[in-house]
Amino acid sequence: MARPRAGAFILGPLLAVGALLTAFPFFWMVTTSLKPLAESYTYPPTVLPSTISLASYQRLFGDFGFGRYVVNTLIVVLIGFIGMFLVAMAGYAFAKFRFRGKGFLFVLVLSTMMVPVQVAMIPTYLILNSLQLTNTLVGIALPTLVSAFNIFLFRQFMTTIPDDLLEAARLDGAGEFRILWSIVLPLSRPILAVGSVLTFITGWNSFIWPLIIANDQLNYTLSVGISLLNKQLAINPPLQMAGASLMVIPIVIVFVIFQRYIVQGFTLSGLR
């Protein structure tokens, strides 16, 4: 590359300050979560905890039963992965089969993107209620199980798989499900990676559906559990921040490891 342009010496520090300001709330979250309760109320506030206390985390898992919420959240995420498999199936069909009504069905898939989630809130609740799926983890995962945009992405990717390969497998007597499982999916690893990371993030962070669909604490996810920490009579900042850390830190770890896929996924989809 050419020598750094002069502007870099002005923009660099400016962007660095912006980056620190962006990161600061997370830093504050972690330090506050480690403060003893009394210290969190002191004025002026302390930036670093004078003594490190894990009491808030213990209370979250003890009195507040967050262990259950973590398990529920992970189950919702796992159900999301089943959804991604359905997406892969549909993407494969749209990419590699000719069938009557294909064009119409694909337009139908894309048109579902026009219906905003929040608008579907009431009817979705009523539909799930009539299926007796309210207050179940399956019910929580179902409204976002399949993403139209992911079908589009999978289809785009899978059209690049050579037809000859599939035809050869058919000649060898492989069933269609087997072809999907042992040829198409392994070849689709890049798009599966993007899809998996986004599926994890969406499931882990999902808020509005668990809020509406889980009526009792047994089915709360982390996000709902944490939102309730703001409704306690006495505000307990370390407890709130411990809850927030519990939600944010796993995502930041996933981000650090899979940054490339996340950026790809966002670029392609604008995170739907």
Binding site: P25, A148, S223, N230, V248, I262
Partner: protein, 312 residues
């Protein structure tokens, strides 16, 4: 083709398929079916359900006993349009859109152009900081900001007190609360837009800039004569998606203010949620959903039209 078809094992999921169901005829529908069923149920079907329910008096009693549900025509819509809280929610949503969308689009574009200015390791490392808020849960973020905003022991007021500025009622003053809630959403939303803009910036061939440099163009000229015009589609795409997101604004006000103080931060989505799930007026809330859907659809179509007229 017929020879290969005959040799193919007619099976799906290991189950033998009767020879009359030709593979090519059935398999794609089986593959597409489950995904399509899920998608259509929770989007297109749900719009029809909402439209139907909005003409009834369905509430918690009706949910338990369907014989209580009555067709009441457009009564819900009449009540809705005469409810000042609905108009306030609509106004608040408009406020959030007017403040949030331009700030986000212009801010993200500026940051993306700055981040793209140099390909050095330092600049690339900085990107991650700007991306992270976009993937973290809004609920968690709202709690953190609620803490920073706290008027008794919050950090923001303490920082202001250092420069002699008085304490600000971040979340308890109706006007300021609107901005405070919007700021959190702007901080959170920027990462996603920056990623999309950066991808678009990297797709611009460097030759354009080299040619401009030869012609003696300055940095600002390059940005406004080359970058921005070439980014038109990305800017349009980001504007549309950001706009739709902001019209559905929900999580931040729900956690930070519960829509308060006195409805000042109640967005349309939050209004629908409260009518539906706090007061259990499903018919009424469905009517509000239909109105929100109509507004979002109208705005989206207007933008697509503008876009077509623009390029045609």
């Amino acid at each position: 083709m017929t020879a290969t078809a005959a040799r193919r094992e007619a099976s799906f999921l290991g189950v033998a398929v009767p020879p009359t169901w030709r593979r090519s005829a059935l398999v794609p529908y089986v593959l597409v079916g489950p995904a399509l069923l899920c998608l259509v149920t929770f989007s297109i079907v749900s719009i029809f359900v909402a439209a139907a329910v909005s003409l009834t008096n369905l509430d918690i009693g009706g949910l338990a006993d369907f014989s209580q549900v009555r067709f009441i025509g457009l009564h819900n819509y009449q009540t809705l349009f005469s409810d000042p809280a609905f108009w306030e929610a609509l106004g608040n949503t408009a406020f959030f859109v007017v403040v949030g969308v331009p700030t986000l689009v212009i801010g993200s574009l500026a940051i993306a152009i700055a981040l793209n200015y140099s390909r050095s390791r330092f600049f690339r490392a900085l990107r991650a900081f700007y991306f992270v808020p976009a993937i973290t849960a809004i609920v968690a973020i709202s709690l953190i900001w609620g803490n920073l905003y706290n008027s008794q022991f919050g950090l923001l007021n303490w920082v202001l007190s250092l420069v002699g500025a008085g304490p600000v009622q971040w979340l308890t003053d109706p006007t300021i609360a609107k901005f405070s809630v919007a700021l959190v959403a702007i901080w959170r939303g920027s990462g996603q837009d920056i990623i999309i803009f950066l991808a678009a910036l990297q797709a611009i061939p460097p030759e354009y800039y080299e040619a401009a440099a030869v012609d003696g163009a300055g940095e600002w000229q390059k940005i406004f004569r080359i970058t921005v015009p070439l980014m038109r589609f990305a800017i349009f795409f980001v504007t549309v998606t950001t706009l739709i997101n902001w019209m559905q604004f929900f999580d931040e006000p729900y956690v930070l203010t519960q829509g308060g103080p006195v409805h000042a931060t109640t967005s349309m989505s939050l209004y629908i949620y409260q009518q539906g799930f706090r007061y259990n007026e499903f018919g009424f809330a469905a009517a509000a959903s239909i109105v929100l859907f109509a507004i979002i659809a109208a705005v989206t179509i207007m933008q697509l039209r503008a876009r077509q007229g623009d390029s045609g």
